[in-house]
């Protein structure tokens, strides 16, 4: 589909160029030839010519209608997904995408799909209007709260492509972006299995995050101001002493065990140390959970 849209776009460019280039050429020629003071033949000036008027009213319209029908055809096609398409649910909320695979696996901001298979994405929103936009596939569709919208595609090349939120949705609209991974069917199955496994870790971590009371501070706390943890992994964290650190596994581990060691700029060192309180296994699950909270700033291929 991407190919066809590129074709229509390019052809449209050419046709429009042909429709307007004569105007430019003609005007340039006139300006040169009929500059004031030049002695040229200016007789037979016309101020009206209905035939000419009608021709330049109707001909461009007819030509452009070709593109109306062509584009319209693709548009209709975009609105009706093939029945055998694999269904993925996308939920937009401020400011992340959550994708749910048919097998129950879910992921944040990134989307893994198999190549050569029709994929239908049902799009919903939990808060404001977002728009799921995948430039490489030449498609987008708004996520409107209160309804389910849909887009579908069939990717034909393996690779990693950008996906964005293209509708202004508040402060971090620009960060609501991720990567679409188109994989061979085998890789996709692998990925499904792995993420299924890691998601048990993650799910355990989520439970612990609540039971250790982390969420009391890190999620919507009115009394304590603690940094939000979404997107932490891989980001550059400014520290109170002026330095920075790139958040990796070790950093997250340290932050839990010895929070006072490296304090995030702009926050008070009020987080208690969990050294000894958290078992190694629990720590692993917690870290897995924190890592799953959105992974940003990834290098694009």
């Amino acid at each position: 589909m991407a190919g066809e849209i590129d074709t229509i776009f390019a052809l449209w460019c050419v046709v429009l160029f042909l429709l307007v280039a004569p105007v430019f050429v003609f005007m340039t020629w006139c300006v040169i030839k009929y500059r004031a003071g030049r002695d040229v033949d200016r007789t037979h000036r016309e101020a009206r010519n209905t035939a000419v008027e009608l021709s330049w009213t109707i001909i461009p319209l007819l030509i452009s209608l070709v593109f109306f029908f062509w584009a319209g055809g693709i548009y209709l096609d975009q609105q009706s997904a093939p029945p055998d398409a694999m269904v993925i649910t996308a939920i937009g909320r401020q400011w992340m995408w959550k994708f749910q695979h048919p097998g129950g696996q879910w992921e944040i901001n990134d989307l893994h799909v198999p190549v050569g298979q029709s994929i239908r994405i049902n799009i919903q929103s939990q808060d404001v209007i977002h728009s799921l936009y995948i430039p490489a596939l030449r498609i987008q569709q708004e996520a409107v709260p209160g309804r389910t919208t849909m887009l579908w595609f069939k990717a034909d090349r393996v690779g990693a492509y950008r996906l964005f939120c293209s509708e202004l949705c508040g402060v971090d609209h620009a960060l609501m972006a991720g990567t679409l991974y188109v994989m061979s069917p085998a890789d996709y199955q692998n990925w499904l299995r792995q993420s299924g496994a890691s998601q048990t870790l993650v799910a355990g971590g989520k439970r612990l995050f609540d039971s250790y009371g982390c969420s009391g501070c890190h999620v919507n706390s009115d009394t304590v101001r603690a940094p939000p943890l979404a997107g932490l992994l891989g980001s550059t964290v400014p520290l109170r002493d002026g330095g920075t650190v790139v958040a990796d596994d070790a950093y997250i581990r340290d932050s839990i065990l010895q929070p006072g060691k490296r304090v995030v700029a702009g926050y008070k060192p009020v987080m208690p140390s969990f050294e000894g309180a958290v078992s190694q296994a629990d720590l692993g699950e917690l870290v897995a959970y924190i890592k799953s909270l959105g992974q940003e700033n990834e290098r694009m291929p």
């Binding site: 004031a36 000036r45 430039p135 209160g146 950008r162 402060v171």
Partner: protein, 549 residues
């Protein structure tokens, strides 16, 4: 010009005021005589000064946007600030600059002159309209600078009604009030054209600028109230939890989009139609030739105004509207392009066999055609449903509307100001500086916005403070272009103001142009004409022979 004048000019002192002239600028000089004036010409000047102020603010915001986008990681402006800046930019540029720009300055000044009237139909309402405009705009801008609004100029619900933590309420209130100013102006102009034409000034003897103002007013009168009510509902929704647009309570957020675009699409024609009117005047005057296809151009203005009311859905192809509705709006958008095409072709034909002078206004006019056509045909691409799926809400759209709003309307505005400057002030500006600025504008503009088309097709979404580094090169190019563009705005501000004191006396008709406004003195007397003119000639009745230089 008499010799003593020339001598004095060479000494670079203001031309002496020998006898106190009694033109509209000089009849009374007190501050009160300005701010309480009901003279349409003075009100035009009041508008000119105020919208120039707003333009500078909007341009500074644009400068900040371009500055921030030089780096991809958003380290210059935080996301939140960035959102506030482009919202400020959009709101100012649309409602406080571009909508009132040509109609309320040149239109106010010229409409009565062009139809041979002493004033507009309701002079006091005209002044009231200015007061409403200035007070409400200042209020809104104040709120937006000190508080900030981050919803974009489109105020989409439910972001604007429930989720945004910014000063949406006060800003929306200000915009509602500014709407009344538009309505009053539109109403005033319509009635003026209907009832105040000089004897003999039939509809088909009206200059095309007047036709375009008439069409503009029609839109203002019909579309603005719909925006008013949409914003009132938004206001009530946010303030009292009215829930009309709140999906959780059975409301429909998309309804807001329909109401908003029902206003905002027609209003883009409010922005461009007066520019087209100016174009018709410039092209004829500097080709020294009768306009080609007068009636086609006149009716195409009205056609744009009317058809423009049926295309609003093309901003919403991908929000889940039914495919049938999408296709209908797409088709209507193709049809609304036809009257614009008619105009462009007619101007080209007007130049043919003319006697063309490349003075500053004409340079702007030629640039106009180039930029408008590029902006217009990319509009057609956007109207092609499937292509919009790729470029909706990307920089392609940003480039499209800047090509039309800046490339066409602002350029026409500059051209018009230069063209009528001698009439308005009685002075001439520096022609070489004028030409240089016009050229700079053209170059700077293309440098700024042409890369954005490419960015858009490559998929860079708009309203992004942070963007993937792959897009950086083109963004830097665009920012560099904006700097050139800035010069093209600053130069005219300087030399035009300079000309007020040091410019050469212009004389009544420096361009040898046709039209009633050139028959009176420069600057015109308080009541425009010594005697109400009798019109027994066609518009643009330039002679059929080449004038001697």
């Amino acid at each position: 010009m008499n010799p003593s004048d020339a001598a004095l000019r060479d000494l670079r002192v203001p031309a002496p005021v020998l006898a106190v002239p009694d033109d509209y600028l000089h009849v009374e000089q007190t501050l009160g005589s300005w701010i309480l004036t009901t003279d349409h010409k003075r009100i035009g000047i009041l508008y000119l000064v105020s919208i120039t102020g707003f333009f500078v603010l909007g341009a500074i915001a644009a400068g900040l946007i371009r500055l921030a986008l030089i780096v991809p990681d958003g380290s210059i402006l935080s996301n939140d600030v960035y959102n506030r800046v482009f919202t400020l930019h959009g709101v100012i540029m649309v409602w406080f600059f571009l909508v009132p720009s040509i109609p309320n300055t040149l239109g106010n000044f010229l409409l009565p002159l062009m139809i041979g009237a002493k004033d507009v139909a309701f002079p006091r309402l005209n002044l009231l309209s200015w007061y409403i405009f200035v007070i409400a705009s200042l209020f809104t801008v104040f709120v937006m600078i000190w508080g900030g609004v981050d919803t974009g100029w489109t105020f989409y619900t439910p972001l604007s009604t429930q989720y945004s933590n910014s000063y949406v309420l006060t800003a929306v209130f200000g915009i509602i009030v500014v709407g009344f100013s538009s309505i009053l102006t539109g109403m005033n102009f319509m009635v003026t054209v209907h009832k105040l034409r000089a004897p003999g000034m039939t509809w088909f003897r009206l200059p095309l600028f007047v036709w375009s103002l008439y069409a503009t007013s029609l839109i203002l009168v019909l579309a603005t109230p719909v925006l008013t009510i949409a914003l009132i509902l938004l206001f009530a929704d946010r303030a009292f939890g009215l829930a009309i647009f709140d999906p959780a309570n059975g409301g429909d957020p998309v309804l807001f989009q329909h109401l908003f675009w029902f206003y905002s699409h027609p209003v883009v024609y409010v922005m461009v139609l007066p520019g087209m009117g100016v174009m018709s005047e410039l092209v004829t005057a500097f080709s020294y030739k009768k306009i080609f296809g007068y009636k086609f151009i006149a009716f195409s203005s009205v056609g744009i105004a009317v058809i423009g009311f049926f295309v609003w859905g093309h901003h919403m192809f991908y929000n889940g509207m039914s495919p049938f509705a999408g296709l209908t709006f797409s088709l209507m958008s193709f049809i609304v392009a036809v009257p614009s095409a008619i105009k462009v072709y007619n101007w080209a034909a007007t130049i043919h066999k003319g006697s063309i002078r490349l003075d500053t206004p004409m340079l702007y006019a030629l640039g106009w055609i180039g930029l408008f056509v590029i902006g217009g045909v990319t509009g057609l691409m956007l109207a092609s449903t499937a292509i919009d799926g790729q470029v909706h809400d990307t920089y392609f759209v940003v480039a499209h509307f800047h090509y039309i709003m800046v490339g066409a309307t602002v350029v026409a505005f500059m051209g018009g100001i230069h063209f009528w400057w001698p009439k308005i002030t009685g002075r001439k500006y520096s022609e070489p500086w004028g030409r240089v600025s016009a050229l700079l504008m053209f170059i700077g503009f293309n440098m700024t916005f042409a890369p954005q088309y490419v960015l858009g097709y490559m998929g860079m979404p708009r309203r992004y403070a942070v963007y993937p580094p792959a897009y950086q090169v083109l963004n830097v190019l665009s920012s560099a272009g904006a700097t050139v563009l800035a010069l093209a705005y600053i130069f005219p501000m300087i030399y035009l103001i300079w000309s007020l004191w040091y410019g050469e006396e212009a004389g009544d008709n420096p361009w040898g142009a046709k039209g009633l406004e050139w028959l009176t003195t420069s600057p015109p007397p308080k009541h425009n004409f010594e005697h109400t003119p009798m019109v027994d000639f066609d518009p643009y009745d330039y002679p059929n022979v080449t004038p001697e230089k």
